[in-house]
Symmetry: C2
Subunit: 327 residues, 2 copies
């Protein structure tokens, strides 16, 4: 590799001090415009690149955003995180940031990872996905006055649950699925979801329930819950259909549950997340705007890092229903 161009080379060629070069690059306001232009011309001519370690020592900014990468879970819904991660990397790069990965199994391990990262690479901010009730990671980041945004709203009304977040409106998604089934003539529409207590799952169930209620349709006894999975979804749907043979359609909280539900009987089925599997097997599913969610996270972080107090805000994005053969 050719020898690296240093700040001293730039200073020499521009006929200014190293401090002036540094100011021209980092604090343009304190340098005369003419000087700043001359320095930038030389920077371009010599191909000088700002060394990030040096810049970090000076500015206290690493230009890094850290996010956890999750292991492949059931294999079906992992693709959601993957798509969000790709969108985040792309949006971050446009804003001059890079994405740093870490793994952690549980909140305590993730807090240990925060400490480790802050002691070493010092990311400027964190993006937390998979928020949940009593999320200790959030309290820890708030207590330590660190910058972060969550992809997922805070699922509790603790006073410290006030931080910037981006989320997708799950209730709007299942409401759209339910309206689609109503429009197709279905009246007895069941719901296969997760056990109560998960914010995301409760929200998705609410979208189905309120839509039926608005249509004046009773839904008592038409809910079954199961831990996420294809086999568990099939068992739950079978139980629901056996107890309610007049049910002709099922709204499900995930594509995994929906794949199981399809095997349980000849009823219309909708899933959630528009996973690759849904595309392949023709499952109608709710699609989350993940690239937009990722870009929104980066946009919020930029404002937070710029010290904009109005950035303590939130964005709730609306998903869309992708209609396929299953409903």
């Amino acid at each position: 590799m050719a020898d690296k161009v240093t700040i001293a080379d730039v200073a020499r060629a521009a006929g200014v001090s190293r401090q002036t070069v540094s100011n021209a690059l980092n604090a343009p306001g304190v340098v005369r415009e003419e000087t700043r232009r001359r320095v930038l011309d030389v920077v371009e001519e010599l191909g000088y690149r700002v060394n990030q370690a040096a810049r970090q020592m000076r500015t206290g900014r690493s230009r890094l955003i850290a996010i956890r990468i999750d292991p492949d879970q059931d294999g079906v819904s992992g693709s959601v995180h993957d798509r969000f991660l790709h969108g985040l990397t792309e949006a971050a790069a446009k804003a001059g940031y890079r994405v740093l990965l870490y793994t952690a199994d549980g909140d305590a391990a993730e807090i240990a990872a925060f400490e480790d990262l802050l002691g070493a690479h010092e990311p400027d901010a964190f993006v937390l996905a998979s928020t949940h009730h009593g999320d200790r990671r959030i309290s820890w980041l708030l207590d330590n006055d660190l910058r972060f945004v969550t992809f997922g709203r805070p699922w509790s009304d603790l006073p410290n649950a006030r931080h910037p977040w981006v989320d997708v409106d799950g209730a709007a998604g299942t409401a759209a699925a339910t309206r689609h089934l109503l429009a197709a003539g279905h009246r007895r529409i069941g719901f296969v979801g997760w056990p109560p207590g998960s914010g995301v799952g409760d929200d998705r169930q609410a979208g189905w329930a309120t839509t039926l209620a608005s249509a004046g349709i009773a839904a008592a006894g038409l809910i079954r819950v199961a831990t996420d999975g294809v086999a568990t979804g099939e068992a739950a749907a079978r139980d629901l259909l056996t107890a309610n043979p007049d049910v002709t359609a099922l709204v499900c909280a995930s594509d995994s549950l929906a794949l199981g539900a399809r095997a349980a009987g000849p009823v219309a089925v909708t899933g959630f997340d528009d996973t690759p599997v849904a595309r392949v097997v023709g499952l109608t599913s709710v699609h989350q705007p993940l690239a937009e969610a990722a870009a929104s996270c980066v946009a919020l972080l930029e404002r937070i890092l710029a010290g904009d107090p109005s950035a303590r805000t939130h964005m709730l994005l609306t998903p869309s229903l992708i209609v396929r053969q299953s409903a």
Copy 2:
């Protein structure tokens, strides 16, 4: 956040100079063992953490490994990259490295990303996935004397195609699938693959062809190729089965092609990559040991970064066949 413990705090508490603290941490050989132990005790007691930017200024090492994250392609095989990425992040963390992401659409864009990263965060090494014939990224990294390992062997015999790599033996995978079909009594076994010229695809085809040849079974006319996809796979398989109605089994170069092939007729079908879709629909498929591949990449990088000349080596891992209902 509590005030950060500095190297000066450690020096004071240990009764040594800051230089000695630095040596104890970075060049243990030059410090007396007793002193080194005292310093390390204080480091632990005070909870001193090495600042990565400062360390990088001193050592020229960023402790970062950069890798491209790909967008969701057809949606079926994206999970392979995702699983590799998770394995890489985990293995890197154990070795004291973090994974930095970037996106790039094509070789030229990826080389621009290399330059950008090297000018800023200065990763110590790159991991390149999806190697291909005439891979300009590899020549560029070699020409610039940079450290990297590829996940995927070099698919050309250019003299510069000599670099450390880790790969999974695709031919061994399709050979295992073909042997499995032969053992089940199939004799007329076709192959649905990608157009010739892709190293990975040619290799997978070779595993099928050589296994049939070893068994003394003719395979002339039993190959169809298509760009990757479910619909393209179905069309290719339909064409093959129409021309050869005696074919009872199809070995496919990917799960996408295999999913299409299953729809083309009542024949046994094997896929490749053991994607989530394969698990859900019961497709027999070749499973790549991705966590092991990722850990091997990190192990090779550690040796390269330690200056070990024997690290210019390669590792070819053997995949396994996951038998399900489809074959």
